[in-house]
């Protein structure tokens, strides 16, 4: 028996939920998280602000964030989408697969940042290309298994497909020498993975 594919998530909900999962962000990060163009993302943010669901704060660490009403609306609509797609069981099963991978990913990130030199844990200064290459090779192997889980997630709800694209992009950039795409940038593998984790908890309604 095949179930019809759930409909694509509306762009307003995509933007709202991106702020729910990624925290405060500017239009560029919202665009990256949702796959929308930056101006479309910004236009969506402005509409949501008019509706009282998001607000913009200034200053060095400012950006767009959810209002209390926006947080409530995001939770209600994301749950509604899950239930009307009948995707809870499939998503829950895929989440179990995610939980197996999560400590591995965190291990890899720690190994990227720290290494044992003369028995002393030391910040990895990335001066030893052979060590970095070994960690990145493990990332590549990990990423193949992550792809399996991501495929299960997007089969359950198509919007999860965006994570696969973002993770693959982070890994490829890191592999081609942009080392900040492992743990450091806001589009790094670790950052995207953490947003995916938050998304799964939010969508399934699991408290931290």
């Amino acid at each position: 028996m095949t179930r019809p594919e759930p409909p694509a998530t509306g762009t307003d909900l995509l933007v709202l939920h991106a702020l729910r999962c990624g925290g405060h962000a500017g239009p560029a990060r919202v665009a990256a998280a949702t796959g929308l163009g930056e101006s479309d993302a910004e236009s969506e943010l402005i509409d949501l602000a008019v509706a009282g669901l998001v607000t913009h704060s200034g200053g060095g660490f400012g950006g767009w964030g959810l209002t209390d009403a926006g947080r409530a609306a995001a939770a209600e609509r994301i749950t509604g989408e899950l239930e009307s797609a009948g995707a809870r069981v499939a998503l829950r099963a895929a989440f179990d697969g995610f939980l197996v991978l999560n400590p591995e990913l965190l291990d890899l990130c720690a190994a990227w940042q720290l290494r044992s030199v003369d028995g002393v844990m030391t910040a990895n200064d990335h001066g030893d290309p052979s060590y970095d290459a070994r960690v990145l090779a493990r990332f590549a192997e990990f990423d193949q298994r992550a792809a399996v889980v991501c495929a299960e997630l997007s089969a359950a709800l198509p919007r999860f497909g965006r994570y696969r694209a973002r993770l693959a992009e982070a890994r490829q950039r890191a592999a081609s020498g942009a080392l900040e795409y492992v743990t450091d940038s806001t589009a790094s593998y670790h950052t995207v993975w953490a947003e995916l984790h938050e998304d799964l908890l939010a969508t399934l309604g699991i408290p931290r």
Binding site: G23, L99, N102, P103, V120, R134, R138, I206
Partner: protein
């Protein structure tokens, strides 16, 4: 026996065969220290298991014989409904791979044995709690999850928080049993001998989990060594109020100072200390509450130091006032602490000056200059966790990312959170330092802190964050948002106020040690510290 060795002073085999943990237990036996009776399934058995995909022929019979011996020496029955014997099954490879492999505790607590333990102790809560820990250990291994993962999979399991502790435990046991049945297709056998075989298989298999393989790849550990499995009589730190568990260093690992250092918990089982699930007390409290245990521990630390001729680390449990040592290893101090211990041991004539020089690496010297909090008796330590990113930061406490961003406009902020998620990113960016209640050195908070090079302390047991009330609780005290604190991302200490920061705690020792280095190399010219040490190493290793 072919695949099994008893844990005793007479065993004379290498750590490659017994694993490092069991080898340490043999050392403890030789030193005349009290170690729970037990035996070890060798790494050779593990290699055969990994090669053939099944336990080697004869191991089953050897396990049965070894258990019979344990029953005889303890006067208890494995899986018995009266005076039941429970054991721990722990991994222990020839090379240390901390936290990468499985451990199963309280093994043999079948339903009947659990009832037996409850009747014997008159404490059903203790017996059920022990059985829950057994099942959770299996669940973690079967699902390939860590303890947090098992918790997340169980989610809002039924039977929690009813106010009736026994009913809660029974509910939790049911939920874990369901999870195991779902994932494994069948329950854990309710038969002690079959549980033991399953546990040994589980521990040996855990050599090959993806995490363990990654660890070996990154640390140059060959994949074909295998792990041993250590089976020991359980001693229960949660037995009564004269029981407990702890970890101890013979010297202070933060400074290298010659005073025992560690943590103790009363009325708890061992994994609670290591996992950081419950509140610990400073080791010194043992002296008042259990003077005989304290004296015994000091004696053990001194004997073990004598053996290793180095600072050492032990894990211990005391049951009804009786001390047992469960694990031992050299201290492996780093940075200034390594320098100080090497120099002190040479001054104490425990080791020669040349050996002292060889024990300090260039890597240690680089860490000697990491800024540290200078703690004195007047330093008011609010809480301790794990240092996740070195350095010292002082600032006012914020309990939310928004608060951190707002307060950072007026001066440095320390962001204190239960754990962090992507929501906290801008707060992490705004803060000078980070403290979290949960998580280890590879947690989200730790990874992000290092990516931003900010001092961080994670896994602060017992730390509570009240966002609504804008306060933080630890060790029975509550401090409000805005309170000035200082954190040390090396030692994991969180202090009230702003204690002095120093760039080395071992200046005098370093000066002395480098003087010896110049004597060895014969070069007294002006050079940097690493060059002076390396010149001495070159002479000692090749000269």
């Amino acid at each position: 026996m072919r695949w099994i060795r008893p844990l005793s002073a007479q065993v004379d085999e290498a750590a490659e065969l017994l694993g490092g943990k069991a080898h340490g237990l043999v050392v403890l036996h030789r030193l005349g220290l009290r170690v729970p009776a037990g035996f070890v399934v060798t790494t050779e058995a593990c290699r055969a298991f990994l090669r053939d995909g099944r336990l080697p022929d004869g191991l089953g019979d050897e396990l049965a014989t070894a258990v019979t011996d344990l029953e005889a020496s303890t006067g208890r029955r494995f899986g018995g409904s009266r005076a039941p014997l429970a054991v721990s099954v722990r991994s222990g490879a020839g090379v240390s791979m901390p936290g990468m492999m499985n451990t199963i505790l309280n093994l043999g607590l079948t339903t009947a044995a659990t009832a037996g333990l409850a009747a014997e102790t008159g404490d059903p809560r203790f017996a059920l709690d022990s059985r829950l820990r057994l099942l959770s250990g299996f669940a973690a291994a079967i699902t390939n999850l860590d303890a947090d993962g098992v918790g997340a999979v169980l989610g809002g399991a039924p039977g929690r928080g009813t106010g009736d502790e026994e009913a809660d435990l029974t509910g939790a046991i049911g939920a874990v049993e369901d999870l195991i049945r779902r994932r494994r297709g069948r329950p854990i056998p309710d038969d002690a001998a079959r549980q033991l075989e399953l546990a040994v298989r589980t521990v040996l298999s855990s050599w090959d989990t993806p995490r363990a393989r990654t660890y070996r790849d990154l640390h140059d550990v060959p994949h074909d060594l295998g792990t041993a499995a250590i089976v020991q009589t359980m001693v229960f730190g949660n037995r009564d109020d004269r029981s407990g568990t702890g970890v101890a260093f013979s010297r202070d690992p933060n400074t290298g100072g010659n005073v025992p250092f560690g943590e103790v918990m009363f009325g708890r089982q061992g994994e609670d200390v290591v996992s950081g699930r419950a509140l610990t007390r400073p080791l010194r409290e043992l002296a008042d509450r259990e003077p005989a245990v304290w004296t015994g521990l000091l004696d053990a630390l001194s004997r073990i130091e004598g053996h290793y001729r180095d600072a050492c680390y032990v894990e211990f449990t005391f049951q009804s006032g009786e001390l047992w040592i469960l694990q031992v290893r050299p201290g492996r101090f780093v940075g200034g602490a390594a320098v100080r211990v090497a120099a002190d041991l040479a001054d104490e004539r425990v080791i020669g000056r040349r050996e002292a020089l060889l024990r300090v690496s260039a890597g240690h010297l680089r860490h000697v200059r990491t800024p540290r909090m200078a703690t004195t008796e007047r330093t008011d330590i609010l809480a301790r966790g794990l240092g996740a990113c070195p350095g010292v930061a002082a600032g006012r406490v914020a309990t939310t990312a928004d608060g951190a961003v707002r307060m950072a406009a007026d001066g440095p902020v320390i962001l204190v959170r239960p754990e962090t998620s992507p929501h906290d990113l801008r707060g992490l960016a705004a803060a000078a330092g980070i403290v979290t209640a949960r998580g280890g050195p590879a947690s989200h908070a730790a990874v992000v802190a290092r990516s931003m090079a900010k001092p961080a302390v994670v896994g602060v047991t017992g730390l509570t964050v009240d966002v609504a009330g804008g306060s933080v609780g630890a060790g029975g005290r509550t401090i409000g948002e805005g309170t000035l604190v200082t954190i040390d991302g090396t030692s994991g200490e969180v202090a009230l106020g702003s204690p002095r920061t120093v760039t080395t705690t071992a200046a005098a020792h370093l000066h002395r040690l480098l003087g010896w280095a110049d004597d060895v190399s014969g070069d007294h010219s002006e050079r940097d510290e690493v060059q002076r040490l390396s010149a001495a190493h070159a002479v000692l290793r090749h000269g």
